[in-house]
Amino acid sequence: MLEIRHLRSGYGRVTVLWDVSLTFREGTLTTIVGPNGAGKTTLLKTLAGLIPYEGDIRLGGEPLRGKAWDLAERGIILVPEGRMVFRDMSVEENLSLGAYPRRCRAAFASNLERVYSLFPRLKERHGQLAGSLSGGEAQMLAIGRGLMSMPRILLIDEPSLGLAPVIVKEVFDIIRRLKEEAITIVLVEQNTHIAVGVADDVHLMRSGRVLLSEPAANVDLDRLHDLYLAREAQSA
């Protein structure tokens, strides 16, 4: 279980997250929605150790602090916005780098097999440069690479960004399968409809705060959209 209490973080003197408290339950998929600038990506970056923070983050009761590479060793794995694949390396080399954390190296071969069975397209293209993949394939590679790191928590940032609707559906089918395997997932997504569809819990963020936290089953999409779009009215 990942718990966040009174989290405050941002970039230099610019505070983006103000007093965020959230709980992510083990083996569930949590979706965070919200408009641009709500702080969703900042939240994931903070969790992954890319940004320093004030407040308290605990994984299974243990405080979570450190640089991104230490947190990757501890199983906090971010699939970043914009995929960030190693463009001049092959698909398989990208996956192999996912297994860089020491605890993942022994199980490298079996994990690779598993990722290839989840993403047959990656297996077909295993020798190809990652920079030559389509957007959807690159997203699959980014998720596959994240799985190679044997995540205790998998943070996925905007997987649908820039993808055609039919590819988005494909990516979310995969995310649904990962959820069935009881991987703890935190998903940040602009595409509210599809993101709430796969979630167990839903949080709505706006202007660096959490406005609404509900089990996905109770979410009323119309109300969510009202809150989502109320930014103008609030700030006026």
Binding site: W69, P80, M84, E93, Y100, P101, R105
Partner: protein, 290 residues
């Protein structure tokens, strides 16, 4: 005439292989840190003088100096990294000044210790001629070629097959993504600098056995490495190897057909031509940023 040209091409290929080692050292440090180590040529020079020192003092084959060169040059390379790593602001520019200064210090320390005379190996074994068909070489040149190929093969294996090597490539490719893989980028840069020092050590010893060295030529090695990197485009080891051989052959042909005074000029002319007509390098046709 044709024999002379063939001989020049042959000699150029042999010396080009060592240029490749020098260039790969520069490239591997640049790849991870985006910093040009202007003292790289002087690191090579230090290794060459280590070989000279060991040979004149012990009478051993200069290649016996490699362990000592590894310690000295690898250590100095590590120190250089630690200094660069302390730079907080304008790292690209300030590191140029820093490494340039370190280069001057190394050159003058060598000048102080060994005087400005031209040195080369006195080992009869390495200086003996060997003929391959109609072509001639010194044993030293052939050995240096073999050693360079071997080390390049090792580097290839290291970058492809070892975790540290993969980390070096990952940081070179996408530093932010590398962090997310559990890679500590600063430690990886450190490793890359030491690897560059290892390449410089062997290259320096090899150059001493096949050619002549004097304290003032350190920067010329840096320039050659730079030219090779531009010829090859950034990236592949085979590309660097071919670029280095092209430079070696160009220089050797210039010496044979014109004058040895024009040797450095020919390299520069090649450099400008490639920059002008093939700005991404001879083998780096793909522009891959973004």
């Amino acid at each position: 005439m044709i024999e002379l040209v063939l001989q020049a091409i042959f000699s150029g290929i042999l010396v080009g292989s060592v240029y490749a080692l020098v260039a790969l050292g520069l490239a591997i440090a640049f790849g991870t840190m985006r910093i040009i180590n202007l003292a790289h040529g002087e690191l090579v020079l230090l290794a060459a003088y280590t070989a000279y020192f060991v040979e004149t003092n012990t009478g051993l084959n200069p290649y016996a100096a490699i362990p000592l060169a590894l310690v000295l040059v690898g250590g100095l390379s590590a120190v250089l990294f630690l200094m660069i790593n302390r730079i907080r602001e304008h790292r690209e520019l300030n590191s140029l000044i820093l490494t340039f200064a370190v280069g001057i210090i190394i050159t003058n320390a060598i000048l102080l210790a060994f005087a400005s005379d031209v040195r080369t190996t006195t080992s009869p074994l390495l200086q003996d001629a060997v003929s391959i068909g109609p072509l001639f070489a010194m044993n030293g040149e052939v050995v240096a070629f073999a050693v360079s190929l071997l080390l390049m093969g090792g580097l290839w294996w290291w970058l492809k097959g070892s975790w540290y090597g993969q980390a070096v490539r990952a940081v070179s490719s996408n530093r932010d993504a590398a962090r997310l893989m559990g890679i500590n980028p600063v430690r990886t840069e450190y490793v890359a600098f030491i690897a560059a020092g290892v390449l410089a050590s062997v290259a320096g010893v090899a150059l001493y056995t096949m050619s002549v060295v004097q304290p003032s030529i350190g920067h010329a090695f840096t320039v050659k490495a730079f030219i090779v990197t531009v010829l090859a485009g950034v990236g592949s080891i085979p590309g660097v190897f071919l670029g280095a051989i092209l430079l070696g052959v160009t220089e050797a042909l210039t010496v044979t057909l014109a004058s040895s005074a024009l040797q450095e000029l020919a390299g520069m002319a090649l450099f400008l031509l490639v920059l002008f007509f093939l700005p991404t390098g001879l083998f780096g046709a793909r522009a891959r940023r973004g």
